[in-house]
Amino acid sequence: MQLIRQLMQLQAEHGYLSNDVLRELSERRGVPLYRLEELVSFYSHFRRTPPADRIVHICRDVCCEMRDKKSRDEFIAGQMDSIAVGETHEVSCLGRCDAAPAVAVDDQPTGGGSGLSGGVVRRNAQADPYAGQSDRYGTVRQLADDIGTLKSVCVDRLTAAGLKGMGGAGFPTGKKWELVAAASLNPPVIDDFALFDEDAKHPRKYVICNADESEPGTFKDREILSLMPHLVIEGMLLAGLTVGADRGILFIRHEYGPERERFEEELLRAREGGVLGSDAAGSGRAFDIEVFVSPGGYILGEETALLECLEDKRGEPRNKPPFPGQRGLWGQPTLINNVETFALAASIIHHGPDWWHAQGTGGCSGLKFVCISGDIAEPGVFEIPVGTTVLELIEMAGGMRNGKSLKAFLPGGASSNFLPADKAGTPLDLDAIRAAGSMLGTGAVIVFDETRELFPLAANLVAFFRNESCGKCVPCRVGSQRAVELLQAASAGPANALGSGQVPLTQTLDELNETLEQTSICGLGQVALHPIVSMLRHFSDEAPG
């Protein structure tokens, strides 16, 4: 953390990272030059050339690609009017799909002329037991007297509620907390990276909140952080006391500046109130949370890539096993959940599993934060009872934009499989969506109306994964690139197709997809071709030629 923070600090001071600045840092810290090169060339936040007077980032991913860009371009032209030198960069998803086409000016999100819609979660107030109250953290205060009881209450309630991780993989939360609680500390890791970091020398457990949601269509954690940071903090604290960690880290994407500020304000309040600190919530145990701002990249949402980043390495996912619960940050048992999981965990521990089960609908349990974007009238974040169908969600969000009808949707973000409109009656539930042939993933629903050509959109999604591949393993690094080339050639027409035409495009893609699924190190490579393969499965006539 120290080295990346130092690099960010130096960039803030100098505007960019020159060779001189890096050489000076290398000498001062005794860090080899190549390690600095590895970091500054990997993370999108770092720049090696002097910045322009104004830097505009525009999102190139699917939700923004689908929108008319005229007003955005006028807005940008206005931004550039008054300054001498401006730069415009196309970047990956900014997490403002509800304000598509999204724009950030000098790292500050703007509505691109259309205004930001953040700060609203429709049907809010069920999950947050403290909604409308100024007195918070009652759950942990009440349990903190007796750590033994706290542990068993937390694990038991989460297990009984059946809460599964909301980051996409769906690992049972109670089980994870229990495993990390039971894990013993490992001898300190001794390697080049650990040598440079004091933390590495002192074995301790960690609780990490993954607030790095960066997948196109995904922005629900953003609103949770903004509207109920106290619930995330309480969830992390309960986890810390349960697993025996005294350090919590919020790993947040750098594009979430306003949300980070909200969270930090709440952190201050929690410390002032004695909820965090040397005697956290009166437990007699220390626990505090620090905020680490991601230097950029979708891959960091992969939990072991996130850990590598925290260890000042390139955010390249680790081979698993071992899993973070056994060997996480600096080789120590580490509990990682995402923002929503911590918030919902706090809620479940407060209300109990029976309450949780009662929140669902149609035979499902619990609540879920989902975000909807694409061809929808009122994109945004919704807190829904699990079991709500996609159609119902579309209704809540004001229906399809311009009264068009639904053609297809992604139920769980860019990495979930396309489903056709006739599956829109599927409840937004882990198992139900899986049964329908996709996954709930990040709970990001993207809808496409009848007028959409799906091939270029699916190709755009594959390009996103290619762009965000860390490049560590061969199948993902080379396979995603080959796939993009194949799709580009196919859209340019059969004359330009890379293949000789003997084997259909779909078969080549299927074979490539299978190898990526089977041999990639992490989820990114495993799903990189899912958008195109699943789209063609349902809409084979969308293939060019």
Binding site: E37, C473, G479, T519
Partner: protein
């Protein structure tokens, strides 16, 4: 991350391709399969590297949702593994296709001796067909290979003189990164960029040749494709059935790395490291790329006799003459863009000699040496042997001088490097060799590196030191220069030049004052502690010493507490398990390395005594992870000393003054021997000036460049009545010769060489000598016969037998039983054993059996800076060159990397002197002056200048002070006063 296997691991059973295999817990599937005889294809892994699992070629089916990379997946009890199912093979084929889809065709790649592993897989999967042509198919269908190279830089990086980089042929297996990091510990290569744009990069993405790369070549050695290849130096590096390989030992430094040499048509084309206890397959730039000197056109091929018109004798080339006019014209050449300096111009020197037959030359040598002996006595003759030659040759040479010439005036360059260390070691612990091998640093809690720029001078040994530091050994570096090891150090103390005694005495002061000493060891194994204690407690408090050495008192305390204090933290299992628990040891285990920074002072013996005292008081001798290790400079400086190339001792350190030893050698050699100790190197040179020495035989040494105060050496060499020089080139010293005898290079003869660890290893004949050149041992026999000591041996093995038979430490060893990796002396069981790693576990071979503390007060250097000469000159070596450069400057690769002389100063000093970086400057001392380029370097202490001594055109030894240490008789190369100024007109 580490794959090491625990000390007594439980074993587990797994089923691999229906075979049940039992392996220790923690074994990877790949390793388990390998042990079971199942080869799983892999590109990113090699057994000496930590696995990373990035190529995914080694995936296997363990019955999970997705396949597992076997190189990183640990075996779990009961696992059932399919390594070559149809599914697995299908995915391997696709992966191979993916990589080949952007891999350049053979004609667009660099040539390489090794078969490309990726193409091998391509053949296996039918993607690459006969003749290396790719069929371009994927599945049953084909699409054209990737057309546009995605990396926005040029495909080739040919900036390194020795390694070609082809980014297009790189598959990002990261083997080179780990070779650079984990094997060589150089930390230069990494990945830059992300995703499909990722590629390897050097430092901050510099061209390789402009980066901090030290050209060790380990990256090219491990590269599975043609992305990193060795550039050809002599012949094209391509597979050729006429190429043969020979296992030998590196001809350069005292580390003695094992070398596999590939040769064809009587030429070497490639050298590689191979597994041995010394270097574990690692090499440095000299060993890997510096062997072509043997094939240099300037090799001497015929005996040469000085022509009558070349008398009176004197230097021939303008550089050796000190004729600035000559150098001035070369500088003018530099402005034209041609290279200044460089090796001798034979056109300047050869006309002074005429070619002769061996008979003529040897007759003349015999006649002239006999005449001097008869007229002026044996004492008027002297010989310098060579630490570059074999044990056999060293033994024969001293035998010739002692029994043939009749004098003990025989010495060699050990006098110039570790004479003071040996004097101190002999005096205090009764043995001059290392007490433990360098690789045992892995078991040390603390490692002190004192006055040793190991990364330049013992590069492969330094990799072990760096590796230990990365695994938790606390490294203490004490030096006047902030060299590369400082980056790995827990403590780095940049002491003032010449202040070692004060610094180490203060460290001992703290150890004693804070009771961090090993009382039991002191009491049982040593004597003289009280005198030392009294001295250091009285005169060397950290505050007192700080005023001399410039290190803050608290830092001195911190260093002492590291030496005497806490044991190292938990470590990687592999470092732990090789060593039984040492919980019974009261203090951390410490190994001390030292080099010329300690030895080459007028109080060098005192410096070494302090290090020995430090080791003794902390009980750090005779146990694993402890010891005293003066790193030896030349490949056979240990062996040459063992063989008796020292004026005061016969082979195996048997004193010439000891009548029983003398009787033994008189009986063996059949001649009466001189009981008087002989003169040392610098004394012999002075003796030539006073005509006490009149005739000399110099074998493979180059005192004109290596001895201090070259202006005096020039006069000395010119004064000799007769000088015969035996060498492979016409060296600067040979310019003063009456007769020059053409010898063989290292690669042209068999012989044994003893490395810094005391390991005796066989060097092998690979090439036939050029022209009439003869093996050194044969020439010695010829000369001996001429002076009345008939000598004839069948082979070097026979000479070794005679030598070993006269010693205790080499007793039992023979060419036949040394085996492929040699033996450490002494070796109790020469047939089966590897020899003795650690000396003095029970007692010291001193008269009392105890180690002796010798207290030393602080003495300043002999010549201190003043207004006229305000800076301190420090001389030494650099990585790419060796000694007087006669070999390395004739190596294309090494010369290309470091072609010219330079003086390094701290940028603040340069600024104060009004000089620019890279400007030509004149450096002058009371004895001479040279002109060379100034380089700003922050590793140099302000007030100091560093100049390497390899460069004849700016010989550092024109400046150095020939004052000697009274015990070791070593000159003070590391300290004299100089002035630096702009060269007129620059």
């Amino acid at each position: 991350m580490t794959m090491a296997i625990l000390a007594n691991p439980a074993t587990i059973k797994v089923t691999i391709d229906s075979r049940e295999v039992e392996v220790p817990e923690g074994t990877t599937l790949w390793e388990a399969a390998r042990r079971a005889g199942v080869e799983i294809p892999v590109l990113c892994h090699a057994p000496q590297l930590n696995p990373v699992g990035v190529c995914r070629m080694c995936v296997v089916d363990v019955g999970e949702r997705v396949l597992a990379a076997s190189c990183v997946r640990e075996c779990q009890a009961g696992m059932t593994v399919a390594t070559n199912s149809e599914k697995v093979e299908q995915h391997r084929r696709t992966l191979t296709w993916l990589l080949l889809s952007e891999y350049p065709e053979q004609e667009d790649r660099q040539p390489s001796a090794d078969a490309c592993e990726l193409e091998g897989l391509g053949r296996r999967y039918g993607i690459v067909k006969e003749g290396g042509i790719r069929n371009g198919e994927f599945g049953k269908d084909g699409f054209a290979p990737h057309s546009e190279f995605p990396i926005p830089i040029s495909k080739f990086d040919l900036s390194s003189p020795v390694i070609a980089v082809d980014h297009a042929a790189c598959i990002l297996c990261d083997r080179c990164i780990r070779a650079c990091d984990d094997v060589q510990n150089n930390h230069v290569i990494g990945r830059t960029g992300k995703g499909h744009a990722a590629r390897i990069a050097f430092d901050l993405d510099q061209p390789m040749g402009e980066s901090t790369c030290v050209s060790c070549g380990e990256c090219a050695a491990v590269c599975p494709t043609d992305a990193l290849t060795h550039k050809p130096i002599t012949l094209p590096i391509v597979p050729d059935e006429r190429t043969t390989t020979t296992e030998t030992v590196c001809p350069y430094c005292g580390v003695g790395c094992s070398l596999t040499v590939h040769s064809r048509d009587n030429q070497i084309l490639l050298a590689e490291g191979h597994e041995s206890p010394v270097n574990h397959g690692r090499l440095c730039v000299k060993g890997r790329y510096g062997w072509d000197y043997a094939q240099h056109p300037q090799r001497l091929t015929k005996p040469l006799i000085r022509r009558d018109d070349a008398y009176p004798k004197g230097p021939l080339s303008s550089d050796v003459a000190g004729n600035t006019g000559g150098r001035g014209s070369r500088r003018a050449g530099e402005r034209d863009g041609s290279k200044p300096g460089g090796i001798v111009d034979y056109d300047e020197v050869l006309p002074a000699f005429s070619e002769a037959s061996w008979e003529e030359a040897l007759d003349l040598v015999g006649e002239r040496l006999r005449a001097i002996r008869d007229e002026h006595g044996s004492g008027a003759l002297a010989g310098f042997g060579s630490a570059k030659c074999s044990n056999e040759e060293a033994y024969l040479f001293q035998k010739l001088i002692r029994a043939g010439f009749g004098t003990n005036n025989v010495d060699h360059c050990t006098r110039l490097c570790h004479a003071s260390s040996v004097a101190a070691l002999m005096e205090t612990i009764g043995g001059g060799a290392v007490t433990n091998i360098f690789a045992d640093v892995q078991n040390a809690d603390v490692c002190l590196v004192a006055g040793s720029h190991s990364t330049a001078n013992h590069p492969v040994a330094a990799t072990f030191i760096k590796e230990a530091a990365r695994r938790g050994t606390k490294l203490i570096v004490v030096d006047v220069r902030r060299h590369e090891l400082a980056r790995f150090a827990t403590h780095f103390a940049q002491i003032k030049p010449g202040s070692d005694v004060a610094f180490y005495n203060a460290v001992m002061h703290v150890l004693i004052a804070e009771d961090l000493v090993d009382h039991e060891f002191i009491q049982q194994r040593t004597e003289g502690f009280d005198d030392l204690k009294q001295l250091v407690l009285r005169d060397f408090s950290p505050e007192q010493a700080s005023a001399i050495c410039g290190i803050e008192p608290d830092e001195i305390r911190a260093i002492a507490r590291t030496i005497g204090g806490a044991k190292r933290q938990a470590d990687s299992p592999s470092a732990r398990d090789s060593q039984p628990s040492t919980l019974d040891s009261p203090l951390p285990r410490m190994l001390i390395f030292w080099g010329m920074g300690i030895a080459q002072h007028s109080h060098g013996t005192d410096n070494a005594r302090c290090l020995i005292s430090l080791c003794l008081m902390t009980g750090n001798v005779g146990k694993p992870g402890t010891g005293l290790h003066p790193l030896r400079g030349q490949n056979n400086v240990q062996g040459a000393s063992d063989a008796g190339l020292i004026p005061i001792v016969y082979p195996d350190y048997q004193a010439v003054g000891d009548s029983s030893a003398r009787a033994k050698f008189e009986a063996a050699w059949g001649r009466e021997l001189d009981p008087q100790p002989g003169l040392t190197v610098v004394e012999i040179m002075s003796g030539a000036l006073t005509k006490d020495i009149r005739g000399m035989y110099i074998l493979g040494e180059n005192p004109f460049l290596s001895d201090p105060n070259a202006n005096k050496v020039r006069k000395s060499l010119s004064s000799l009545d007769f000088l015969v020089v035996q060498d492979i080139f016409l060296t600067e010293t040979a310019e003063f010769a009456d007769v020059i005898l053409p010898a063989t290079s290292y690669f042209e003869k068999d012989g044994t060489y003893t490395n810094t660890d005391r390991r005796v290893q066989l060097g092998r004949k690979i090439l036939d000598p050029p022209g009439d050149a003869r093996a050194d041992w044969q020439i010695i026999c010829d000369v001996a016969t001429q002076v009345g000591l008939p000598m004839s041996y069948e082979s070097p093995a026979a000479i070794f037998e005679e030598f070993a038979g006269l010693t205790k430490n080499y007793g039992g060893l023979s060419h036949a039983n040394l085996g492929p990796t040699g033996k450490l002396w002494p070796c109790a069981d020469p047939q089966a054993g590897d020899g003795t790693q650690i000396l003095f576990g029970d007692r010291f071979p001193t008269s009392s059996g105890k180690g002796k503390f010798v207290p030393c007060g602080y003495l300043p250097a002999a010549e201190l800076p003043d207004d006229e000469y305000p800076l301190v000159l420090n001389t030494g070596r650099i990585l790419e060159h060796w000694h007087t450069g006669s070999m390395t400057r004739r190596s294309k690769a090494l010369d290309a990397i470091k072609p010219s002389a330079f003086a390094k100063l701290h940028p603040s000093d340069l600024a104060e002197l009004g000089l620019d970086d890279r400007q030509m400057v004149r450096v002058a001392s009371r004895r001479g002056e040279i002109e060379l380029q100034a380089i700003a370097d922050r590793s140099i202490e302000p007030g100091c200048v560093f100049i390497p001594f390899h460069f004849r055109e700016a010989s550092a030894n024109l400046l150095t002070n020939d004052v000697l240490d009274p015990y070791g008789k070593i000159p003070e190369y590391k300290y004299c006063a100089v002035r630096v100024e702009a060269v007129d007109g620059e």
